[in-house]
Each structure stands twice: as structure tokens, then as C-alpha cells.
């Protein structure tokens, strides 16, 4: 199982450029998960102890609003990373994550990854930069969504 998980992770964009030893280090205690649509992967406020590398399917990030129920604000799909709250305090999930389709992912154990980074400053820099790039990309996307570019605020004819 471990060998299978490492081989999978090595193919994921998150692991691009990582050495085989790096992949082995971050894959200790990792697990392949396959869940059907509708599965709640994690809940807002719970302790964030996993970093998910999504291979197939789509996961929705949801917020519960008292007046409106749950609102899906973004999705994470194949080749992307689900979850970055594990990397920084307070290490609590900021959203709910629900499988919108059947999903296959590898759940990296956050404590294992953090320990590997603690012992290897080079790996620490690489992992942090990867997560920072993901955050930057999502922040940019969120700002573009706020622009509401498809509304009729554009050229009126």
C-alpha cells in the first residue's frame, strides 16, 4: 500500500521536482482515500491534520450561513491540493469540504509532513512555496470572482 501511495504522490503536481526521498518522507502515514459523492471530508473548526492531494473528482468548499444554509464557494479538482490550514496556526479547518463527485485522493499526514520539514530546511522551503503558490492562485481567483466580470456593468449597447 505504501509503495502504491508513494508512486501516486510522485505523479501529482504537488510532488513535481521532489526527490524520491522527499516523497518517501512526506508519504509516511499517508493513505489513499476513495469516497463517494456527498462524503464530508472535514468540517470547519475541526483540527486540520491532513493535506489532501486530489487525483479524481471534485471537492466543494462550503460555508454554513445561518440565513442561507450551506454555500459552496469554491471547488478543488484533480491535480490540486485540498487543505492548507494544517500548515499554519490555529491548525483548524476554515471551511467544510464535501465530495461533489466520487473522489480519489491521497491524505498526507500533516504531522508527518511538518516533522519532515522541521528536519530538512530545503524541503521546508519547497513545501511552503508550493502551498504559498496555491494560496496566491486562489486569492487571485477569489478577487476575480469579486469583480463579477460577467455582470452587465460592462459596455452597454
Amino acid at each position: 500500500m505504501s509503495g502504491g501511495v508513494e508512486a501516486l504522490v510522485a505523479e501529482h503536481p504537488f510532488a513535481a521536482g521532489l526527490s524520491a526521498d522527499d516523497v518517501t518522507a512526506i508519504c509516511r502515514n499517508a493513505a489513499l482515500i476513495e469516497v463517494p459523492a456527498g462524503t464530508l471530508l472535514f468540517t470547519e473548526g475541526e483540527r486540520s491534520d491532513k493535506c489532501y492531494l486530489v487525483f479524481t473528482g471534485i471537492v466543494g468548499l462550503e460555508l454554513y450561513l445561518h440565513e442561507r444554509g450551506t454555500a459552496t464557494v469554491a471547488t478543488v479538482g484533480p491535480g490540486e491540493i485540498l487543505g492548507w490550514s494544517w500548515l499554519m496556526p490555529p491548525h483548524r479547518w476554515r471551511f467544510d469540504a464535501v465530495a461533489r463527485t466520487d473522489v480519489a485522493a491521497v491524505a498526507l499526514d500533516a504531522a508527518t509532513v511538518l516533522a519532515a520539514c522541521e528536519g530538512d530546511p530545503r524541503l521546508d522551503r519547497v513545501i511552503n512555496r508550493r502551498i504559498a503558490l496555491t494560496l496566491a492562485s486562489r486569492l487571485e481567483a477569489a478577487r476575480h470572482q469579486l469583480l463579477d466580470v460577467y455582470s452587465d456593468g460592462g459596455e452597454v449597447r
Binding site: V73, V149, E155, R157
Partner: protein, 292 residues
């Protein structure tokens, strides 16, 4: 050119609405053809990416891209125009139905160079109603043939909400064909269709990274809000697609359609005459200087 008076691009010819199809609550596709028993109509079939100046008897004119070209039983061009009601003129066109007469001047402008994409993977990225002028590109590529291993077609579409997605049925038909990948993203999951939305939530540019195409051997065609096109070109560049291989449709301020009024001037170019389709590297040169 539509034939109204000989040699004139200034005087509208007359076309008849043959069909009206509702795409979204504020968008319709009108099929415009020749008026029965009356000389005139489209003489030259428009090319993908070109536009016509459309008008009604009670409104001004607007440039509307061609969203499909067909022909009637006599072989005369019959053209689809997809119109979003955002102002008085487009609202007037939006209300038109079968039998209504329209003023038509055109076709004008530089269209998509689909021929340059021969033998290459094709990536179509559309934002909102930008899918309308790109639809003929998809028609052309599917007509030439696609194959999962030799020539792939990728169609990436963004919309505000699921209810704002145009040509939803056709997107499904395209996706069912081997060699074609269709991915959609909406900015927000609200309104009709939200409960059953199977696609992504986010901006259309987020779909580029996971699209399956050969970045070194592809042609990309992009149309939508300018900020969306700007960032799509950047995402394609991050994938390794050269800006010269990306064509965009810039539809700014076109008023006369024939290069006379100057409203659509962009540096040394007139968009109605030198566009609306341009390569991304050319557009980057023209937009290097901007107002703050």
C-alpha cells in the same frame, strides 16, 4: 457583404428573423436570413469571428458577432447572432422574433484564423457570452475532425452562475465526442441549476492548468471580458503556449464598423478593421500603454 445598395457598407440591408432561441434569461440567439421574395440578403457568408452591425426600426445599431453560419435551401447564408440584453439597442434586438425585420450591415472585421490550427490541438476559452463568437471555431474544428491521440479539442467555459451558461445542451454534445474535453466553471453557485451543477466553482482561468492539450503544439482562441482574456493568456503562457499562438477577440467601442468613426481606435489599430480578432502578442503591444 450583405447586399443592400451596390457597393455600400453604410446602408443596412434587410434580414428576417427566422428563429429565436432563448439561451439564458437575458440572452437569445436569433437566426437571420434573407427576406423571402426580396432581393438581397447575405452575399458573402461571414467567417468565424466576424461581426455584423444589427439594428431594428426603432433603435440604433450594435456590433454583434456571428455565432453560427448555415444556409437556406437556395444556398444563401443564414446566420445566427447571440444577443445579450444590456442596453436599449440590445434589448430591442432581444425582443425580436420570427418574422421581424432587422437592419444588417456586414460582415466586418478580421475573424478567427482557424486554418492556422490545422493539425494542432485546439483550446477554446470562453467567458460569459464570449462563447458565442467562439462557437463557429468549435463547429469548424469538429467538422475537420478531432481525435484523442492526434488532435484534441478543449473547450473551457466560465459563467456567472449555472443559469447564465449559454449553449448548455451543445456543451454536453461536444463533451460526448471522443477527443473533446469540455470543462465549465461558475463564479457563484446560486440561482436556477445550482443544486444540480456538476462543474467547478471558480474562475475559468483555473481550468487551464488541468486541461489536456499539447501546449507546444496548439492554437488557442479566447473571448470574454477583457480582464478574463488577459489572465487566460497569462495562464496559457504558464502552460507553455506562446502568445502568438493565442487569438483573442477584442470588442471595444465599435460604432461604425467600417473604420471611419475612430471610436474603436487602439493605438494605431482600429478594432473594427484590424480586429476584433488579434493575436495575444499583438494585443499586448497595443495595450502596453494604458490610462491610470
Amino acid at each position: 457583404m450583405i447586399e443592400a445598395s451596390a457597393g455600400s457598407s453604410m446602408i443596412p440591408g434587410v434580414g428576417m428573423v427566422l428563429d429565436r432561441r432563448v439561451e439564458t434569461p437575458d440572452t437569445v440567439t436569433l437566426t437571420v436570413g434573407p427576406v423571402e421574395g426580396r432581393a438581397g440578403g447575405w452575399v458573402d457568408a461571414p467567417a468565424p469571428g466576424q461581426f455584423a452591425m444589427l439594428s431594428t426600426s426603432t433603435s440604433g445599431e450594435v456590433p454583434i458577432s456571428v455565432s453560427r453560419v448555415g444556409s437556406d435551401v437556395s444556398g444563401r447564408p443564414v446566420v445566427e447572432h447571440t444577443i445579450r440584453a444590456v442596453g436599449s439597442v440590445t434589448e430591442g434586438l432581444h425582443r425580436c422574433g420570427p418574422g421581424d425585420l432587422l437592419g444588417v450591415r456586414g460582415p466586418f472585421g478580421v475573424g478567427w484564423d482557424v486554418g492556422s490550427a490545422a493539425g494542432r490541438d485546439v483550446v477554446v476559452v470562453a467567458g460569459g457570452i464570449g462563447l458565442a463568437p467562439l462557437r463557429p471555431v468549435v463547429d469548424a474544428v469538429l467538422g475537420e475532425g478531432v481525435h484523442p491521440d492526434r488532435r484534441r479539442l478543449v473547450v473551457l467555459v466560465g459563467a456567472r452562475t449555472p443559469a447564465d451558461l449559454c449553449f448548455a445542451e451543445e456543451l454536453g454534445e461536444w463533451a460526448a465526442r471522443p477527443g473533446v474535453q469540455v470543462e465549465c466553471a461558475v463564479d457563484r453557485l446560486t440561482g436556477p441549476g445550482a443544486d444540480a451543477w456538476p462543474g467547478r466553482i471558480g474562475v475559468v482561468t483555473s481550468l487551464v492548468a488541468g486541461a489536456r492539450f499539447d501546449a507546444g503544439h496548439c492554437s488557442a482562441f479566447v473571448c470574454g471580458p477583457e480582464v478574463m482574456m488577459r489572465f487566460t493568456v497569462r495562464e496559457l503562457s504558464c502552460r507553455g503556449v506562446e502568445p502568438a499562438a493565442v487569438s483573442v477577440s477584442v470588442e471595444r467601442s465599435m460604432t461604425c464598423g467600417i473604420g471611419l468613426c475612430g471610436h474603436c481606435q487602439l493605438g494605431p489599430a482600429l478594432i473594427c478593421r484590424d480586429g476584433p480578432v488579434m493575436t495575444a502578442d499583438h494585443l499586448l503591444e497595443l495595450t502596453a500603454v494604458r490610462a491610470r
